[in-house]
Assembly symmetry: C2
Homo-oligomer: 417 residues x 2
């Protein structure tokens, strides 16, 4: 490490300056070069598979020592299939249409002006994430695709895996003749580096934080840089009085158990009191599949306590509560939700409409599983995550949402009267 | 004033809570009610014309005492024509299509899901502005149109004018049966109220600051709430070697002198060294019209000093500089510009393309006056201002850019494989 990088603020400033320089180059780099870098990075990932798995084994040992939950260990784990999935992700991103320079709208004004609204990169993006090492590849690739430079700060659990993956990304950039500084990885586990990134308004245009409560609190206290919040996914499923029993059973089981470690998994089941019998049979089925149910008004594994509501378990656990009516369900979600994804199960269109209108989450589902909260399932290709904030980006954030725009106006000596 | 409002933090918290409650009501208020409120507010403005002009006279006295520049006094001044223009603004906003609930995109996925992307209000907007009292009407109306509650904090110079205008807006809200708290005006000139708004993350979703250097600094130091920056308009006009002399003369004069107090007025003229003779004749014409020109490489009113570059004069003053080539012009703009609006005057399409690609301002003009930087001239109707940031909103910000969106997803018991 260089002399000026001996302290965390100096390290972040140095990385920031290099990111700014890389961003200026990226803004003119043709789409072909950015896509070639993604392809080459994919090849480098395949070539370095043994090193990646070895690095991941070190991280898994560390995770076991730290006593991570099975869901967390699942997030952390890499095998050949998951590395190949990462490679396919890079290829898919390379194959997507290029957002940079895209003409979003164009029109003529009576003044004689012709106006084009054109997509531009945002500049430098800081991504702060936790255990999943594949975010290193996905986030790095999406930022590159959208013409942005990126500073990645992975979780301390996935430290070695992320470094091995980052090495492959750097190889891809070099192969395509692009600046290696376009994708940088924070070379320290020191948590002060996160705080420093959050304050680096001079170097970072937007922070994308993806994580749980600890990161949420830090971001809320410290962020001076604009934030695309990718925070907790406290997803609710509401079984309405007019729910179809078969659909409800199927969707709730899928929403909770298909994969518990992702942000779109359901964390709380709400049941209309007139659907209590159905709710109980769903709770029984969840328990039969090994899910712990913390229930209020239903018989679960144990009664719910106040702390079970608004909690992101990311595990085979769910809170459950009987509510008086749809408005009580809406009130519960407003109080405990994280504006990520909520589902209503009902055959009553008016109830679905009310739920859709009155809840302000990024994604609302009617008779569908919350596990569909995913850029791929939305047809957007890869995503950097699901934004829970309302500024600029919301819901699944792919390359397109990582851009801004500018207006290009053409006249012919045109003056304003 | 109520007891809990005796201190500024308590005042802002109280206003914030009331704004949140109003925003919840506004989210369901039909477009008809919001438009009726705008119409009624316009009628109330007409009915209270004498009171508004009287209040404005007090502000003008205060401005004269403070020794405001002629351009500032022009911004502050209201007469019957300007009040009527405000009323027309309200009517035009009422007549615009309603952004709230608009389906931006909808599509089907192979999974069977139908996805709609629907516009939603942002929530509570804080607008911090300076001398122009008409912003009270424009900003209040645009926030209402987009289903947002707003807390307005006008400049101390326009304190009485803004209060009189706000009274008319409140009358309109009452007449339409909407909560008066939907549009609140900060009832104090205390600057601490601005700092408090910038920290009110619990109550305010986004701050729209419109102002000069003082406000810029405060926002950069203090803002915890996301910001749509509407900061200085340090607009540049570059006369290229291949400029058409007649167009260049016409456009520069218009860009500087049509109206000097608006953010789209030109503050710096850059001239390619091969167009020096043309540049000099433009400088002579500017001086003949009463503009002070601070020039480097040309003969102006006086030589330029370093402080003249990057300065927002908002007055009959302009900096001017001869540059070696288009890249030097681009470098000057990157160093001194505020990413608002820049124009190139050239018959060389390659030069225009280079200027458009390499400068990252919200608006770039080719052979057109920077004074076209205006929501109306862009065909967007009224604007809350020209955003100079890149997050969420950029360029002219009308009602549509004051919204967010959510995804409404419909299935039929659909689960994710």
């Amino acid at each position: 490490m260089k002399d000026q990088s001996d302290t965390i603020p100096a390290l972040v400033a140095d990385m920031g300056r290099r990111a700014r320089a890389a961003a200026a180059e990226l803004a003119y780099a043709p789409a072909e070069a950015r896509n070639a870098a993604l392809q080459a990075a994919g090849e480098a990932l395949v070539a370095s598979l043994p090193q990646i798995l070895e690095a991941n084994a070190r991280d898994m040992d560390y995770g076991r020592e730290k006593g991570l939950s099975p869901a967390m260990m699942d997030r952390l784990m890499l095998d050949e299939a998951r590395v190949r999935a990462m490679v396919e992700g890079l290829e898919a991103i390379a194959a997507q249409p290029d957002p940079v320079g895209q003409v979003m709208e164009e029109w003529d004004q009576p003044s004689g002006l012709h106006i084009r609204k054109v997509r531009t990169p945002l500049g430098v993006i800081g991504v702060i994430y936790e255990s999943r090492p594949n975010v290193t590849a996905d986030a790095g690739a999406l930022c590159l695709k959208s013409g942005n430079a990126v500073i990645l700060r992975g979780g301390s659990e996935s430290f070695h895996s992320s470094r091995a993956i980052h090495t492959a990304l750097a190889t891809g950039l070099r192969a395509a003749g692009l600046p290696e500084d376009a994708i940088q990885l924070m070379p320290t586990r020191d948590r002060e580096a996160v705080a420093e990134m959050l304050r680096a308004t001079q170097y970072i245009d937007v922070i994308v934080p993806r994580g749980g409560k600890g990161l949420v609190g830090l971001v809320q206290r410290e962020a001076r840089v604009p934030v695309f919040a990718h925070l907790e996914g406290i997803c609710h499923v509401y079984v309405d009085a007019a729910a179809d029993p078969e659909k409800a059973m199927k969707v709730v089981l899928n929403a909770k158990t298909r994969r518990t470690g992702i942000c779109g998994s359901a964390e709380c089941l709400l049941v209309h009191r007139d659907a209590r019998a159905l709710g109980q049979s769903i709770v029984d089925a969840l328990m039969a599949q090994g899910v712990e149910v913390y229930a209020e008004g239903l018989t679960g594994t144990r009664p719910a306590t106040g702390e079970d509501f608004g909690k992101e378990f990311l595990d085979m656990k769910i809170a459950a509560r009987v509510v008086d009516d749809i408005d009580a369900a809406i009130a519960h979600i407003r109080q405990f939700g994280s504006q990520h994804t909520e589902a209503i199960l009902t055959e009553d269109q008016a109830a679905a409409d009310r739920f859709f209108q009155r809840i302000d989450s990024a994604i609302l589902m009617h008779n569908a599983s919350t596990q569909f909260a995913d850029g791929g399932e939305f047809g957007m290709g890869a995503e950097i995550g699901i934004a829970t904030g309302k500024m600029h980006a919301r819901g699944p954030v792919g390359a397109t949402q990582l851009t801004s725009f500018k207006y290009l106006v053409s006249g012919n000596g045109t003056t304003r009267p």
